[in-house]
C-alpha cells in the first residue's frame, strides 16, 4: 500500500522539532554510532547475523552469512518514523538493485512507516544503506534517540518438491 504524505502532520512535527533540535545541538550529536544488534532472525538456522550503523540521517545495515550454503529469499523489514529512501545495496561485493516489495503507513501509530526490501539469495554479505528524509535530524529515524525496536530479517520460506519419484517391484 503506497503512502500519502500527511502535510499537516509534517508541519506539526516540524514545529515541535525546532526547540528539540536547539536543545540537542546544545548538547551535541555524535557523528556516528554503531550497534551490534542480532535483530529478529527467523529461522535460527539461517546463520545470518547483522549489525547496524547509524550516522546523520543514514542507516547502514550489514548482513553476514555465517553458514556454508547460500541464504535464500530473505527480505529486510524496516520500521521507521518516515518513509525511507534506499541509497545503495551491495550484495556479495556487487551493486544490487533491491526491489521494495512492500511499503505501508500505519495510521494507528502516527509517523510509522514499514518498508520491506527483497534481498533474495546471497552467499556472503549484504550492505544496505538507506535514508530517512523530510527532517533535519536523524532523530525521526529513531525514537527518542534510540533505533526503532522492530527490525527484522524474515526469510521467505521455500521448499523444493520431492525428487526421484518412482516405483519398485
Amino acid at each position: 500500500m503506497e503512502y500519502t504524505p500527511n502535510i499537516s502532520a509534517q508541519i506539526c512535527r516540524r514545529a515541535f522539532i525546532l526547540p528539540l533540535l536547539s536543545a540537542i545541538m546544545a548538547v551535541g550529536l555524535p557523528s556516528s554510532q554503531s550497534y551490534a544488534e542480532t535483530g529478529i532472525i527467523y529461522p535460527d538456522s539461517a546463520n545470518v547475523s547483522f549489525s547496524r550503523e547509524v550516522s546523520q540521517d543514514t542507516t547502514t545495515v550489514f548482513l553476514v552469512n555465517q553458514g556454508v550454503n547460500p541464504v535464500e529469499n530473505l527480505f529486510i523489514s524496516e520500521f521507521t518514523g518516515s518513509p525511507t529512501i534506499l541509497l545503495e545495496c551491495v550484495k556479495d561485493g556487487l551493486p544490487f538493485d533491491v526491489p521494495i516489495i512492500e511499503r505501508e503507513f500505519d495510521t494507528v501509530y502516527a509517523n510509522r512507516y514499514v518498508t520491506r526490501w527483497l534481498i533474495g539469495t546471497f552467499g556472503q554479505a549484504v550492505t544496505l544503506k538507506y535514508y530517512c528524509p523530510g527532517y533535519d535530524s536523524y532523530e525521526l529515524c529513531w525514537s527518542a534517540g534510540q533505533p526503532f525496536a522492530i527490525f527484522g530479517i524474515m526469510p521467505q520460506r521455500h521448499i523444493g518438491p520431492p525428487t526421484d519419484i518412482g516405483w519398485q517391484q
Binding site: H158, I159, G160, P161, P162, D164, W167
Partner: protein
Amino acid sequence: MKRFLLLIMLCVPTAAFAQFNDHDGQLVSRWHAPAFGAPVDHYIWSYTINGVADSIAGIAAANDTLNNAVSLSVIGNWAIFNIAAVSIFGDTSEAAVSDTAYYNPESGIGPPEGVTWLQGP
C-alpha cells in the same frame, strides 16, 4: 539436417511414453527428499487410480521415503503417485508426479528349462 533432427527426436525418450509395468498389482512407490529448501516435516501423497484423483491419500513422516499403499486388482488398471513435501514452517512444495504404473503381469512364454540328455533304449 532434417534427417538428423528427426533421428534425434526418435531417439530421445519422452515422459509421455514412460510407464512402469507392475507384475502383481501391488504398487510400491518411492522418492527422495527435496534437493533444496527448508527442512521437511512430512510428506503428503495420493494415488490417482484409473483417472480418479486422490483415490487413496495419506501422510508420510520426513524419514519415510517408501510407501506401499495400493493394490491394483484388474489387469490393465493403472495408477499415478503424487507427492509434495511440507516444511517445518508449514509451507508445501510443488507436487512431484510419478510415471504411470500399470498392472501388467508377465506375458508370453519362457524357454524350456533343464534340458539334458538321456541314455537311449
